[in-house]
């Protein structure tokens, strides 16, 4: 009893176990066992249901490496992820800077909330809203033709740029959020010190502000890149026929082709790529924490 009364946290897993078990059991059943099952399934020839014959095989992985289609699609998904992430940096970082260093008090709080609010609303609905804007005879088309003296046809719908626009819209609040948090932590006196020692605005930006906010940039980039590489709904709705990516192929295996083992192998390869990327970002993030 005596040591239980000591200030601070108490030792021992035993008293903690009843509190921890329900949550972690749930996570095991719904996340960790499924991920392991996926690895298992990816090594099968067929589904082990309804008395179907199945055996172990590496064929699903061989399919990925022998057919250039899959690696090409993975590469184009990685490129999509990179492009969306870059756009999010270009658009989101300046906004985070203004929020953290220019705006003050209540207006900062309100605008910060406004920027991250859409991020917490339904992603599917927001992608659909871009379809309204981008399609031929849509708002962008109508508005531009009303303003411009000559006739132009804007039909961005079902194109690569449409997919980029939709995804950037979906993920840019992430970048604003993470960069804002690190930028806000930079002491203003550091910036003033740099200026008073004769550094130009540009030098202060590149030598002081950007290096200090790097953890936020990396965290934002990882949080955006990873889901974009696995996106399938956004390319489907905004990309149409041009919207075939690695994610849409995985979706096909599960909902229309019904080749689950191949789908599992493709998913697992994506998971491996994602884990490598997160592992590369981890040291920078840990230094920040």
């Amino acid at each position: 009893m005596a040591d239980q009364l000591a200030i601070g946290s108490r030792r021992g897993l035993k008293p903690a176990l009843p509190l921890l078990l329900p949550a972690y059991l749930w996570l095991t059943v719904a996340i960790f066992l499924p991920l392991s099952a996926m690895v298992f399934f990816s090594l099968m020839t067929d589904l082990p249901v309804a008395g179907k014959e199945w055996s172990f095989t590496l064929g699903n992985y061989a399919a990925f490496f022998s057919q250039s289609l899959y690696s090409t699609l993975l590469l184009s998904s990685l490129r999509l992820g990179l492009e969306v992430t870059l756009w999010c940096v270009v658009i989101g970082y300046p906004a985070a800077y203004v929020l953290a260093k220019v705006l003050k008090g209540r207006s900062r709080e309100a605008i910060f909330l406004l920027v991250i609010l859409p991020f917490w609303s339904n992603g599917l609905v927001r992608i659909f809203s871009w379809a309204m804007v981008l399609r031929e005879g849509g708002i962008l088309d109508t508005a531009l033709n009303a303003v411009l003296p000559f006739k132009i046809n804007i039909d961005l719908m079902y194109s690569y740029p449409a997919v980029i626009i939709g995804l950037v819209h979906s993920y840019v609040p992430y970048m604003v959020l993470t960069c804002y948090l690190t930028l806000q932590a930079i002491d203003d006196s550091l910036i003033e010190a740099g200026r008073s020692l004769g550094a130009s605005r540009r030098q202060v930006l590149w030598r002081v502000i950007i290096p200090l906010s790097m953890p936020g940039l990396i965290a934002g980039a990882a949080l955006i890149f990873v889901p974009v590489v696995g996106s399938f709904m956004e390319p489907r709705i905004l990309g149409g026929r041009t919207g075939t990516f690695y994610g849409t192929v995985i979706e096909d295996q599960f909902v229309s082709v019904f080749n689950w083992p191949l789908g599992a192998a493709l998913s697992f390869i994506l998971l491996a790529v994602v884990l490598i990327i997160l592992a590369l970002a981890a040291p920078v993030l840990r230094r920040a924490a």
Partner: protein
Amino acid sequence: MATTRILEWLGRFYIVLLLGFLYLPIIIMAAMSFNASPFYQLPFEWTTDWYASLSQNDQLIAATWNSIEIAIITTLISTVLGSMASLALYRYDFRGKKVLQALLFPPIAIPWLITGTAMLIFFFGVGIGRGLIAILLGHVALALPYVIVVVSARLQTFAPELEEAARSLGANQWQVTMRVTLPWITPGVIAGGLFAFAVSFDQFVVSYFLSTPGQTTLPVEIYAAIRKGFTPEINAVSTIIIVVSMALMLLTARFFKFGGEK
């Protein structure tokens, strides 16, 4: 000084542009749900017909109820289990605690496409199959880490001396938890619960892989409808969803500061 002021105004102008980029499509989408033309043609003619026809769409209504029920049950289960786990992680020190904390990140960091398909495979393999139970299992797992992170953040501001004081005044463990600790973390638990509701109510990818015809949620039904073709009815239901989820987040913001400011 003049340059600084100009730059500051440019910055403010830029934020306005960004807000335009973020909100214009949503506003246009919502406006079109009140436009009479079924092909989204202008000029704008006010109508609420699309909302009226929505109220006749039994499939969408059934899916909406499923979404609401699943979100409420997810909220209840994940706030209780999540708060318990946060309390244990806060109170006790044991080997492997870091590992347990790290295990919260896979559900957040791994793309939903991967978790969703993995759940489909596993639930199918063990006989749970697809449907509302599977969706619920998945949603709680996705919401739990958010609840634990939010409640733990609130617990960081708790002074352990308060528990000690209560104990030295003769309160037992149960009384300490119910009378001292729980009231303190209540704002965190409410915020965590609202997060959980939002995660579940807006979840599409995982629900999509786990649903079957008749046992689906609203976002899954909307996706199916969008792929068949755009109708103002989708605008109407989308407008309702976006209003609900934004209202929820505004409510959450009252209980939980995102900006990390005190």
